[in-house]
């Protein structure tokens, strides 16, 4: 049995290679006109991911038995004193992520076969999907910080391609470029961080013998760099590395690309912008945790950025009318949660929330996809309503999702509770923010549920139920959303998620568990309060009560006018960026271009014209008049004699 599992771990690279092969087959298949039937593409993609799933399950079982992580590398680029290598590293964290990624992407691929049926870019879509799978799995498997950077950018590119799938729509094109540029800004920070880290620790790596920037040996390297670079510079390096996750997981300053990324087809939003890619940021934090852990100031900044993101995006989600936008902002805020948890030291809790969030958020997006598909591309909630009657399966899975995300009994509750427990230990203000955000989360989730599925239908398109191929993945996703939290919480003598994740890690022990029951009860109550307020404000049953008490959604909006305008304008962050670009960046480019054209070219032309002018000026002496020539002769002669006689006398 051991050797059997050993084989899987030995060449775990195949997991990433399979989607790459699928991508090549589809691309060449299409261009060389080998086949044209959509079924084949679907089958190729799904089988490659399914094999990947089986593979990662075997790896999971291997990790149960294994003591220390398995790693295999080859040198990819070597010059002078550095030798960067590429390969794969299998440990508990990787096993967990592999499972999540392959599982979710398999279900989404099945779903998108149904979703993209009629779209003519079908093959192109699946080739991009495979490319994304390759890069995501590569990222998860990568064994060192440099290799993770490579797949980091590849994932950015595949998200760029997928957001810009319907490139004929200018808004999609714009969103894709915006997403990629913002990711690029993050990559800049990550690159600078990696190079700086390598700069300080280069002789340590050379001495230590294991591969450069390898994750297994980051801990001692981080200490070495801390001593070498001093706390301030080290904090800068760690922050630079943290820039990567800020952009990728849409944290506070660089989160604006995620809502616009909804331009892409919905399965993409589900896969990339909910479950896998955005989680890559948190995954990098987990992988590079020793670096961040070494300096407390970085940890607090990470925590606070997570908190701020969670709060801001949650408030924005309240006033959104587009279903997908609401879910996008909720993803941002949940990611904020994870980052806050990681920042606060609750390493295992953050990852646990990542895992649970992946499942229920993917399910929520697929439901929204089904709804939009049903209402033939109507995304505005004001024209929905009462869809429970038309799409019961989608409605109920959506409700499960809402319960999970707002942390009522289902998987979300357990992972959020772990986070709150972690926070409770050391940082009360973060805990209060967490609880406020929990309230807002449950409010806007149930608001969207009631607007979309309850009350009567307000739209003019006649909704039809989603086909089988789309509902089955929903149901399959609903199962883990319900049970996974409960199973892995370690409460009832089942293998607890934390011990599994932490086993590979001797993470710091300060995430002490406060066993009192009070915290979960409080969080449950807050979630229910959110549910009730949403029901009160948006459900028809309380319509009469609302009218009598005069507290309706509209007059709340009227009273809290400044707050409402703040959130609808997305806290003016987007406006700030566009204003920066429009009247600072572009004018500077304009000025530089004109400067280049007129000033530098001007000087060059001026020199040209000047010489010609001097030529013309000297030619004026050639008047053609004989005596002028003689005057030039003699005056020149006398002038020269004067000068040189003087020079001779002087010398």
């Amino acid at each position: 049995m051991e050797q059997f599992l050993e084989f899987f771990v030995e060449n775990a690279g195949a997991i990433a290679a399979l989607p790459l092969w699928a991508f090549l087959i589809i691309v060449f298949g299409q261009n060389l006109g080998v086949y044209d039937n959509k079924k084949i593409t679907a089958w190729i993609t799904c089988t490659s991911t399914f094999i990947g799933l089986i593979w990662s399950v075997c790896i999971l079982f291997w990790t149960f038995g294994a003591e220390e992580p398995f790693s295999k590398n080859i040198t990819w680029l070597s010059a002078g004193n550095i030798e960067l290598s590429a390969g794969w590293l299998i440990d508990n964290l990787a096993a967990m992520m592999l499972l999540v990624v392959t599982g979710v992407s398999l279900l989404i691929q099945v779903y998108s076969h149904g979703y993209m049926e009629k779209d003519d870019g079908y093959h192109r879509f699946f080739s991009y999907l495979n490319l994304f799978n390759f890069s995501m799995l590569g990222l998860v498997l990568s064994s060192n910080l440099f290799q993770i950077y490579i797949f980091w950018e590849l994932v950015g590119v595949s998200s760029y391609l997928l957001i810009g799938f319907w490139f004929r729509r200018p808004s999609a094109a714009h969103a894709a470029t915006k997403a990629f540029i913002i990711n690029r800004i993050g990559d800049f920070g990550l690159l600078v961080g990696i190079i700086a880290f390598l700069f300080f620790s280069i002789n340590w790596w050379a001495a230590s013998g294991n591969i450069y920037l390898g994750f297994t040996s980051l801990q001692p390297a981080a200490e070495y760099v801390l001593t070498a670079a001093g706390p301030v510079v080290y904090c800068l390096i760690a922050l630079a590395i943290f820039c990567g996750p800020i952009a990728k997981s849409a944290q506070f300053p660089l989160h604006t690309w995620l809502p616009d990324a909804m331009e892409g087809p919905t399965p993409i939003s589900a896969l990339i912008h909910a479950a896998t890619m955005v989680a890559a940021g948190v995954f990098l934090i987990a992988r590079a945790y020793p670096i961040f852990e070494a300096s407390p100031c970085v940890m607090t900044t990470i925590a606070w950025i997570g908190a701020i993101t969670a709060f801001i995006t949650a408030t924005i989600a309240i006033t959104q009318y587009d279903l997908k936008k609401t879910l996008a902002y909720s993803t941002c805020s949940q990611l904020g949660y994870m980052v806050m948890a990681m920042g606060a030291g609750a390493y295992a809790a953050g990852l646990f929330h990542l895992m649970t969030h992946a499942f229920f958020k993917a399910m929520l997006f697929l439901c929204s996809g089904a709804v939009i598909h049903g209402l033939n591309d109507q995304q505005d909630m004001r024209y929905m309503g009462g869809l429970r009657k038309h799409m019961p399966v989608v409605a109920y899975t959506y409700l499960i999702g809402c319960f999970a995300i707002s942390g009522i009994l289902l998987s979300g509750f357990w992972s959020k509770e772990e986070i709150f427990a972690g926070l409770y230990g050391n940082n009360m203000t973060l805990l209060t923010i967490g609880l406020i955000v929990a309230f807002i989360t449950s409010f806007y989730m149930f608001r969207s549920y009631f607007l979309a599925f309850e009350n009567e239908y307000r739209g003019h398109a006649h909704p039809h139920d989603a086909p089988k191929v789309m509902t089955i993945p929903l149901i399959l996703l609903a199962i883990p959303s319900v049970f996974i939290g409960f199973l892995l919480s370690g409460k009832f003598h089942l293998p607890s998620f934390d011990k599994y994740i932490l086993s590979g890690h001797e993470a710091s022990a300060h995430a002490g568990h406060h066993e009192s029951l009070m915290l979960p009860v409080v969080s449950l109550l807050i979630a229910l309060a959110g549910l009730l307020t949403a029901a009160y404000l948006y459900h028809d049953r309380f319509k009469a009560l609302r009218e009598s008490v005069k507290i309706t959604a509209d007059n709340i909006i009227k009273t809290a006018k400044p707050f409402y305008s703040l959130t609808t304008n997305l806290w003016y962050i987007d406006k700030l960026y566009y204003c920066f670009i429009d009247n600072i960046f572009l004018p500077v480019c304009e000025f530089a271009a004109n400067f280049d054209k007129f000033v530098i070219d001007g000087i060059v032309n001026f020199i040209g014209v000047k010489t010609r002018f001097e030529g013309w000026f000297l030619r004026q002496f050639q008047t053609g008049q004989l005596q002028t020539y003689l005057a030039i002769l003699f005056s020149g002669l006398v002038g020269l004699t004067l000068i040189f006689v003087a020079l001779n006398l002087f010398m």
């Binding site: 050639q622 053609g624 008049q625 004989l626 005596q627 003689l630 003699f634």
Partner: protein
């Protein structure tokens, strides 16, 4: 430099006086060359230039090299060449005059720029 010395210097004609004389003539030649507008006058001032040089040569022959008088031989050669130049100058002048009936140097400004 009292008055007597200057007087002695003045009246005892030395080589310098001849050089000064030839220099004066040379400068008059140069002025004539450039100032006169009539081509004939220009040719004449060329002759003056050459005669100034002759004076210089003969003076040096007299004062430095009375033995074999190389300066005077040179002077003779110069005279011969001056005559040749005058002849060619006249010929060109005539050809010019035949094309355009004027001897004014200001007229001949076709070739310029």
């Amino acid at each position: 430099m009292s008055w007597e010395e200057i007087l002695i210097k003045l009246f005892n004609v030395e080589l310098t006086h001849y050089i000064v004389l030839s220099a004066v003539l040379f400068c008059i030649g140069i002025v004539g060359l450039i100032v006169c507008r009539n081509v004939i006058r220009v040719l004449m001032s060329i002759e003056i230039l050459l005669s100034a040089v002759n004076i210089n040569f003969v003076a040096f022959a007299n004062y430095t090299d009375l033995g074999d008088l190389k300066g005077q031989v040179f002077a003779i050669f110069i005279m011969a060449v001056a005559a040749a130049e005058a002849a060619i100058g006249l010929a060109i002048l005539l050809a010019l005059y035949r094309n355009k009936p004027s001897v004014d140097t200001e007229e001949f400004k076709e070739l310029r720029g």
